[in-house]
Symmetry: C2
Amino acid sequence: MNIRKIVKSVFGGAVGLFLIIQGIGASDFPLFPPLGPLPPVTIPANNPQTEAKVELGKKLYFDPRLSGNNWISCATCHNPALGFADGLPRMLGGPTSKEGGRHSPTVINTAYNEFQFWDGRAATLEEQALGPIQNPNEMFETLDNVVRKLSGIPDYVRAFKEVFGTGITADGIAKAIAAFERTIVCANSPFDRYMQGDEHAMSESAIRGMALFTGKAECIKCHNGPNFTDNRFHNIGVPADGPLKEDLGRYNVTKNDADKGAFKTPTLRNITDTAPYMHNGFFPTLFEVVQFYNGGGGRSENKSSDIHALQLSGQEVGDLIEFMKALTGELVEIKYNAVPLAFPNLPKGF
Amino acid sequence: MNIRKIVKSVFGGAVGLFLIIQGIGASDFPLFPPLGPLPPVTIPANNPQTEAKVELGKKLYFDPRLSGNNWISCATCHNPALGFADGLPRMLGGPTSKEGGRHSPTVINTAYNEFQFWDGRAATLEEQALGPIQNPNEMFETLDNVVRKLSGIPDYVRAFKEVFGTGITADGIAKAIAAFERTIVCANSPFDRYMQGDEHAMSESAIRGMALFTGKAECIKCHNGPNFTDNRFHNIGVPADGPLKEDLGRYNVTKNDADKGAFKTPTLRNITDTAPYMHNGFFPTLFEVVQFYNGGGGRSENKSSDIHALQLSGQEVGDLIEFMKALTGELVEIKYNAVPLAFPNLPKGF
C-alpha cells in the first residue's frame, strides 16, 4: 500500500489507518500526495434537490416570520456575513434576547454531518431545521403558527405548490431549508488545491502544520475524513462558561455515562470564519484552542484518555494555525433581497 | 406650456403647479406624457462615493458588532429581504428586544430625503447612521465601543486606512454606511417604463389609478416629485397604536405647535415591499391605507386641513392600489457573505 493510498484513506474517513500513518512519522508528511476535494453532498432519497426548492429554502432561512416575534431568522444566528454563525460565544434568542448555553454552530458543511447540533440530537438537516424554530430560547414559535403565517403570504403558497405540490407544511419547511443548507459547502481551499497538486497553494508553514496535524499534534485522531471530523463525540475538558454551570452534552441524548461532557467534533473547514470556538465559545481565537490542546486539554471527570499534553513549540503552534487557515475555502455567494412580500396588499376576496 | 412639461414639472417637485394639474381634470391623465426615472442621487461634497467605501459601508451595515449585544445590525431592522425594513408594525430592539414606538422606515430611496427619521431629526444619511447605534432601544452601543471593537478587526483597520486614510472613526463609519445606503435606490418600475413611453408597462387599472392619484384622490398633494414625497411633515390623524400613548412626531424636533402629530411623508416607491404602513405601522395593507384616506383620515387635534373624505368607489380604490404597485422597481442585488472576520485568529504580537 503506497503513501498516497494511505493518506487518501485516512482523509476519506478510515480512522483505523491512523496508527499506520503514525508509524510513518511526521517527517514524511511534506510528501503528502494530492487528495481530492470534498465528495458531492449525499442527497436523501426523500428530499431531492431542485433549484426551486433551494430558492424557497433560502427565503425561509432569511425570513424572521419563522420566529415568535417575527424578528429572528435562521440567518440571525447562522449569519452568512459571520461564517454562517454569529460570532458570539453563546447564542442569543428568545423573546428577550437572552444568552443561551451553547455557541451557534456554523451551517457550513453541515450537509456532511452524521449528527446535527453539538449533542447530535438530530440525525438530519431536515430534523434539525425545525428545532430552533420551536426552542423557547431561540425562535420561540410553534410550527402551527409558522404554517398559519406563511399560508397568508401568496408567494409562499405558490412556491410550496410548485415545489411540493401541497400547501404550507412543517415538513416542507424543513425539507426546503435543508435543501438550501446542502448548498452551503466550502470548496477550493488552499488545502484542496495543494492536495490536487498545486504545491504553491499552501505556505511552507502550513505544509509543516499539516505534518503536525496528522503527526505530533494528533489532531487527525478526531478531525479526520474529508470534512475534518470523525462525526463522533468527545469530552476534551473545555471549562464551563456562560449561563450553564454544567453541560452534559451528548449524555443528554444517550444517558450513557461515558458521554458526559462530550460534544460533537466540529468540522475544521472554514474554521477561520467561525470564531469563537468550542461548544460554549470559550476560546476567542485558534491560538487559544491550540494552546489548550498543547497543555493536554482541560480538567473533566469524563475527559477522553486520548487528550494529553503535546509539547508543541511556539513555531509548531503557529504552523498548525497556518494549516487550519489553509482549510478556508469558497462558499456559494448569497444574494439576499429575496423574501416574499410581507403582505398581499389586498385582503382576501377584494 | 404643454401638458408634458406640466406633468414633468409636477413630478419634478414643483408643488405650486398642482393647481394647474387640478384644472386639467382627471380624465386627461391617461394621456400622461413620458417622464424620466429618478434623477441621479446627489452626493455630498464631503463624502464622495467610491467602490471601496460602498463595500465598507455594506460590511458595516450587516455587522451586528455595531450593537451592544453584538447581535443587531442595521440590516436586522432594515432588512434587504423585507424591503430594507422589518415587516413589523413597530421596531424591536434594545437589550431585551422590546417593541418601540415607531415603524422601521425603509432605506430604499432615503438617498433622496431632505430629512431622515419619521420626525426629520437628522438632515443627512451620515447624521442618521449613528442614531440607531446609540439609541438605548435600538442597537444600544456607544460610539467609543464600536470604534474600539472594529479597531480590533484587521480587515476593518485595512479598509478604513484605504478608504479614509485614517484609523476607525465614528465619522468614517457614518460616511461609509451612508455611501452604501446611497446605492439602495429603486429603478425601472412599471411606472418609470410607462413614463418613458412603454404604454404597456402599466395595466389599464394602474393607468386609471395614476389619474386618480394626481386628480380626485389628491395623493399628489403630498406624494409628489420623482420620489413621490414632498419631504414635509403632515398630521393625517393616524390612530395611536403600540407602546406610545401619544407621539408628537415633528413637534419633538421643532417645538412648534403646528407640528404636533405630524410625520414625514414617506416615499411611495417600492411601497409594496414595506408593509405595514404609517409611522406606527397601524395599517397592515395598502387597502386599509387608501380606505383611511377615503374616509377623510383620522381624528386628531392638529390634523391637516387638506385631509378630507374622497368618496372613491371600490373600483377606484383598487385602481389606486394598482398604480402604487406599479411604483415598485428593481433594487441593487445584495451579496451578503462579506463581513470581515470576527477575530484575527492570532493575538497581537504573536
